[in-house]
Amino acid sequence: MKVKIKVWRQKNRNSNGSFVTYDSPDLNPNMSFLEMLDVVNEGLAVKGDEPIAFDHDCREGICGTCSLVIDGKPHGPHKGVATCQTYMRSFKEGDLITVEPFRATPFPLVKDLVVDRKSFDRIQQAGGFISVRTGSAPDANAVPVPKENADLAMDAAQCIGCGACVAACKNASAMLFVSAKVSHLGLLPQGQPERHRRVKAMVDQMDAEGFGGCTVTGSCEAVCPKEISLDFIARMNRDYAMSLLKGDPKGIAGGGA
């Protein structure tokens, strides 16, 4: 099969970008979308043109490195998968496929289809952890966790940090990502001591990074490769309200340990 791809090309953050359309060589429908880009790039390189820059790593849908907005949908046409798990059999012979980078101010563009998602790391650094020093942990079975809670925490913890939720949202809101992190730890007994401090620190950092607000459009849930539920956003809203009502304890510094 053959397709055309209309790709966003932009040399770097400071230059102007534009779409360029390429004809693919003959493709096998069992190729992944990224393998299709590999093949197109190989052709470009041999011609002496610059290959299309795109982010990828594990190519099995777990590292969260790959991005791309394919025909208006982050991670391509299928539900519950990442771009690297999108296969060419999902497209038709002769399709014109539009490929764009994730668009969000807190994800500044690096080159072509690559964006910088460090803002997610900074949100994590603000409070996305349980403060436990190595070596200080009690026996793992000392604190039983109801299976329902463990399972729900696991549902949230599945987030691969790809940023598709932000890319899909018309407000570039990071609520699904942050709420998944907050809920994962907030659902476990180990996470209770820092529960309210965590949610406050992470939400405040999220705001500081310039992500938009949630208007409950549901785009994020629809594109999430791990199909993380909007329920977690509600849970975070609840926790954040509690943290506001509780206020800060006296005399502690923010951030870190």
Binding site: K11, L27, N28, N30, S32, E35, D38, E42, A45, V46, P51, D55, H56, D57, C58, R59, E60, G61, I62, C63, G64, T65, H78, Y87, R89, V110, D116, K118, F120, D121, Q124, Q125, G127, G128, F129, I130, S131, V132, R133, T134, S136, A137, P138, D139, A140, N141, V145, K147, A150, D151, M154, A157, Q158, H184, L185, L188, Q190, G255, G256, A257
Partner: protein, 652 residues
């Protein structure tokens, strides 16, 4: 010749680690912050080490080539992590985990290292649980376990099908905490391109910023490499595309010995290759073998038929037939080779004939589809996504693929290489898995090294370093290292040949898989060495790299990594050629059991199983770089077994 002192503590095996910790020097808290440690990599080992060192008070700088310290390929481990907790009351113990690991590694690992690994395994589970890793639980709220290949007890802790990601997120959260409070300085999109050795000690690294192309020098009192394995030398593997050998290879070229490079693990349960365009192979967790039965048709003629049309009596459940006691849970190397044999006999299935069935119909009949869905739902979904087949209805097709490298930089008991001040953790070192790694042990080793071993043993080196004695980055050694990196970059960008780095990588991969893959022999390895050396020459003269130096340039990144893979590939073939025995994942066709051997007649092993030669090859092969164009030097570290008797590995 390098000096290889394994520094294994004296005394009884079970007490070595504790007595070593007690007798090791400590660094007082006020002095710790005067020491700076560079950690390269943020997978399980790198992230856990960075966080823990910072918690102890050391000044830590962490470098990753990824855009975030949460992307390393540890994240892809599916099945689980072993620990000798004996929560199942099925007879597990530290000693049993130690013994299983030694045996699984085919008696080619260090007893003391493996025992320490088994000891700290229990602390890992405690630590990770406290961090909020959502391990699977039973209804009573306590932790659940599953069984895994190479063990007859259930000691594997898991978090659905993504244990690796959950453990990595745990380590990443610890690292994030320390970045947030200033304990760790994090550099992302920062690729280490050289090691700086000053007066024989590792004191810094040279780094390229992948976004801007800027090359910078970084100095520290010690350098820790936790940069993962090198299985991408085969091009097609279950590794992430970005996984590479560059950090450890350049350390090798600066004097660190490379140990047992030929020990490669071929994982039995991967999705078969479908075409030449393929960029990676996808693993189906070994845990599937708990409930799936592996078979091929008994007769070649049936291979083209739909699996449902092949009646039960015409199926060959070959692992159950060959390895009764372990059956479908035989270790990875054994299972992979068995699959290769039946395919070599022409009984492989699927379009390429390189595949076997992994069938869940019995388990679905026994437990119901919902139970199977709960256990493996995401794996079945991955399989469906890739193959468009429904494994609840029809058996999966699987075939072995390169999955892990047991070899790596040589380290002593303290995880320090033969270059003082250079520590190597996780898959990047060679230390704990011998010639074959058991399932669910890689996560265990990465976290053991990072959380519990290095933070304690690094003090033995730092105690010998005067605080504040760090060299300056404008010293000659740093300038020289930076200049060599710049020269290499200039060389690549000046290459005006006709072939892309990826095309060389593919060709290298084919040579390696053909001659240095699941089965190796003398003639093939000698041929591979010739082919690789010709490939290396062509790489020098016929390479083309697009783009410029001071920008995001993926071609340039790949060019450097492939150059290192080509050189490493040659060393792997040399090592495989030198090791005239079969052991674990290293299978030399000349050295296998046949019907004439008493072990086969006694029913201990099968004909075709690996045959070790303990009298001549019970050693660690540590290769030393001798300079460009010169053959590497082989150093031998003898493997001394005090506790376990080396015996024929039997899984029958």
């Amino acid at each position: 010749m390098a000096t290889l002192n394994s520094n294994i503590p004296t005394g009884p095996l079970a007490g070595k680690w504790n007595s070593h910790k007690f007798s090791s020097k400590l660094i007082n808290p006020a002095n710790k912050r005067k020491y700076k440690v560079i950690v390269v990599g943020a997978g399980l080992a790198g992230a856990s080490a960075s966080a823990t060192l910072a918690e102890l008070g050391y000044e830590v700088e962490n470098f990753v080539f990824h855009d975030s310290p949460r992307r390393a390929h540890s994240i892809a481990a599916q099945g689980g992590i072993n620990a000798s907790k004996n929560y199942q009351n099925d007879g597990d113990s530290v000693h049993r985990l130690f013994y299983d690991t030694i045996k699984g590694g085919d008696y080619r690992s260090r007893e003391a290292n493996v025992h320490r690994l088994a000891e700290v395994s229990v602390n890992i589970i405690d630590q990770c649980t406290a961090q909020g890793v959502p391990f699977a639980r039973e209804y009573g709220g306590l932790l659940d376990n599953r069984s895994f290949g190479g063990a007859q007890v259930s000691r594997t802790f898991y978090a659905r099908g993504q244990t690796g990601q959950q453990l990595l997120l745990g380590a990443y959260s610890a690292l994030s905490r320390m970045i947030g409070n200033g304990g760790v300085k994090s550099h992302t999109h920062a690729e280490m391109l050289d090691l700086v050795v000053v007066n024989g000690h590792a004191k810094g690294i040279i780094v390229r910023d992948l976004q801007t192309g800027e090359i910078t020098r970084h100095v520290a009192d010690a350098v820790v490499l936790a940069t993962g394995g090198y299985g991408n030398v085969f091009n097609l593997s279950t590794y992430a595309r970005g996984s590479n050998t560059t950090a450890i290879w350049r350390a090798y070229k600066r004097g660190a010995c490379f140990a047992n490079p030929c020990y490669t693990q071929i994982h039995p349960t991967c999705i078969p290759v479908s075409g030449d365009y393929q960029s990676k192979l996808t693993l189906m967790s070994e845990s599937l073998r708990n409930d799936g039965r592996i078979w091929v048709p008994k007769r070649k003629e049936d291979c083209g038929k739909a699996p449902a049309d092949i009646p039960e009596e015409q199926r060959d459940y070959f692992l159950e037939r060959m390895y009764g006691a372990f059956g479908n849970l035989a270790p990875r190397d054994v299972s992979s080779r068995a699959a290769k044999y039946v395919c070599d006999e022409g009984r492989g299935i699927g379009p390429t004939g390189l595949g076997v069935y992994l069938d869940f119909s019995d388990a679905i009949g026994r437990l119901g589809e919902s139970k199977i869905r709960e256990r493996y739902g995401n794996l079945f979904a991955i399989y469906h996504e890739i193959t468009a087949e429904d494994a609840y209805k029809t058996p999966m097709r699987i075939f072995p693929a390169v999955h892990y490298t047991m070899g790596g930089l040589w380290v002593d008991y303290n995880l320090m290489s033969n270059v003082p001040g250079l520590f190597v953790l996780g898959e990047a070192n060679f230390s704990d898995h011998g010639a074959n790694r058991l399932g669910a042990s890689a996560l265990m080793q990465g976290l053991a090294d990072g959380y519990f071993v290095l933070p304690s043993t690094i003090a033995t080196y730092l105690a010998t370093v005067k605080p504040g004695s760090r060299p300056k980055v404008d010293q000659a050694e740093f300038k020289e290292a930076e200049e060599s990196v710049r020269a290499m970059t200039r060389h690549f960008l000046g290459s005006k040949g006709k072939r892309t780095p990826s095309s060389f990588h593919k060709e290298l991969g084919k040579i390696m898989w053909e001659y240095c893959g699941m089965a190796r022999n003398k003639a093939g390895l000698e041929k591979a060495i010739q082919l690789i050396s010709a490939l290396r020459e062509e790489y020098r003269t016929n390479l083309m790299v697009s783009g410029a130096e001071n920008e995001w340039n993926q071609s340039l990144e790949v060019a450097g990594r492939v150059a290192d893979f080509i050189e490493l590939g040659e060393l792997m073939c040399r090592d495989a050629l030198m090791r005239e025995e079969s052991c674990g994942g290293h299978f030399r066709e000349e050295y296998q059991y046949t019907g004439a051997d008493p072990e086969v007649q006694q029913g201990l092993v099968n004909s075709g199983d690996v045959k070790r030669r303990d009298d001549q090859f019970a050693f660690v092969a540590a290769w030393e770089h001798a300079g460009a164009g010169k053959a590497p030097v082989l150093n031998r570290e003898p493997l001394v077994y005090e506790e376990v008797k080396m015996s024929t590995r039997s899984y029958k």
